[in-house]
Symmetry: C2
Subunit: 210 residues, 2 copies
DNA sequence: CATTTATTAGACGATCGGTCTATTAAATCA
DNA sequence: TGATTTAATAGACCGATCGTCTAATAAATG
């Protein structure tokens, strides 16, 4: 049963094979921007449509609902950062601890680039949970669990390299980091300043080196 | 010029002398509950009105707008916690560090009591800043600054008592605490669990004792 | 009782998320 | 080519809900 042997269907085929569409992609892009800025509830479909230059009718061609759209945004955002963490944490040109520092520096630069107007999509939606459809909860928790797991791996490498005290539990440390880091991102957005990020990062590194 | 000598105005007098009103108070109570749960944007006036058992028309008699209502809620919430911190941090039956631990334990118990459905009003609105009227920003920053200042005082007392290392800067530590603690509250709400609070608190105390 | 003001009641327009039908575009097979 | 089939766009439309406002009512006054 070769895929190539399946007879082509009549009629117009999808624009691209694997569910890809430029229109769809621009909806996702615009959605990510707005949701990192304003969250899910406060963001109307219309403003996303306007930014993306896409008529409303198209939206419901590509997505079943606003909720399904949100689900996809969380997935993409989670995967994007998972990839970013993976890249930083596998950079063997640096020591394990320096990889974490580099990730933080990258995130700080990103927040500054957007004038501290955009936060973390997962943190934003987490804060909104009281007003969000329940299925979002597990999805958001899973993203944090994934990020934490990757971070714990890098911390274990740092431990093996003798960069941080071996009394620490890497999983606890990773949890501590993501709990606090999300707080720092929130605060940086509120104060429009990078100093909360620096304050937290500095404290974190002081802590783990002991 | 005695206040009592001011001639009474004609017409129906206010229900109570000093701007107090049971109706108004119940609006504030209901508002605080909903805003700690769902934030400002996602909370409709109608649901607050319904809980408080107050007709919509009355709301705009007591408050100029939803925004003015929010401003007052932030003030009240900020002052409520300022008082709470003051009580804990002036409790001379405990050591300075134990006072902070007691405050944290109290907050953990409060979150558990509400089944982790309510977060911090200031943190919630901070996250929403992208969608909130600009004047809220300074107000929220000021509340954090106040809480941090009180916390720094207690940390200095702990330093004087030799409970924490003197290399630490108390102001930095207080900033670090509130940055991370808000992250922990957010996460606890998301995961419906107290463990993020415990994870952060434990890490924080480990850190400051060195 | 006429007057004044507190308080309530609900109408109001705007906008929300979501659905719908109609139309246009692009590929197919005969 | 031309009829056919489906992808994709276009935007009118719906009920619900948003925050605001005006008109009416209630309660006190001199």
């Amino acid at each position: 049963m070769d895929v190539a042997n399946v007879p082509r269907r009549r009629g117009r085929p999808p624009k691209a094979a694997a569910g890809f569409s430029e229109t769809r992609a621009s909806l996702v892009r615009a959605g990510l921007v707005r949701l990192t800025e304003k969250g899910f509830t406060a963001t109307g479909l219309d403003e996303i449509l306007k930014v993306a230059g896409v008529p409303k009718g198209s939206f419901y061609h590509y997505f079943d609902s606003k909720g399904a759209f949100g689900t996809e945004l969380i997935d993409r955002y989670g995967a994007y950062f998972a990839g970013k963490l993976e890249r930083f944490f596998n950079d063997h040109s640096r020591s394990p601890l320096a990889r974490i520092e580099a990730f933080i520096a990258d995130a700080e630069a990103a927040m500054e680039r957007f004038a501290y107007s955009r936060g973390c999509l997962v943190g934003n939606l987490g804060q909104e949970m009281g007003a969000l459809p329940e299925p979002f909860r597990q999805q958001l928790c899973d993203v944090f669990a994934d990020w934490q797991h990757r971070t714990a791996g890098c911390l274990r490498a740092a431990q093996a390299a003798g960069e941080i005290g071996s009394l620490h539990n890497a999983d606890n440390l990773a949890a501590f980091f993501w709990i606090g880091w999300e707080g720092a991102v929130l605060r940086a957005k509120l104060e429009r300043s990078g100093s909360p990020l620096q304050t937290f990062a500095e404290g974190f590194f002081t802590m783990i080196r002991t």
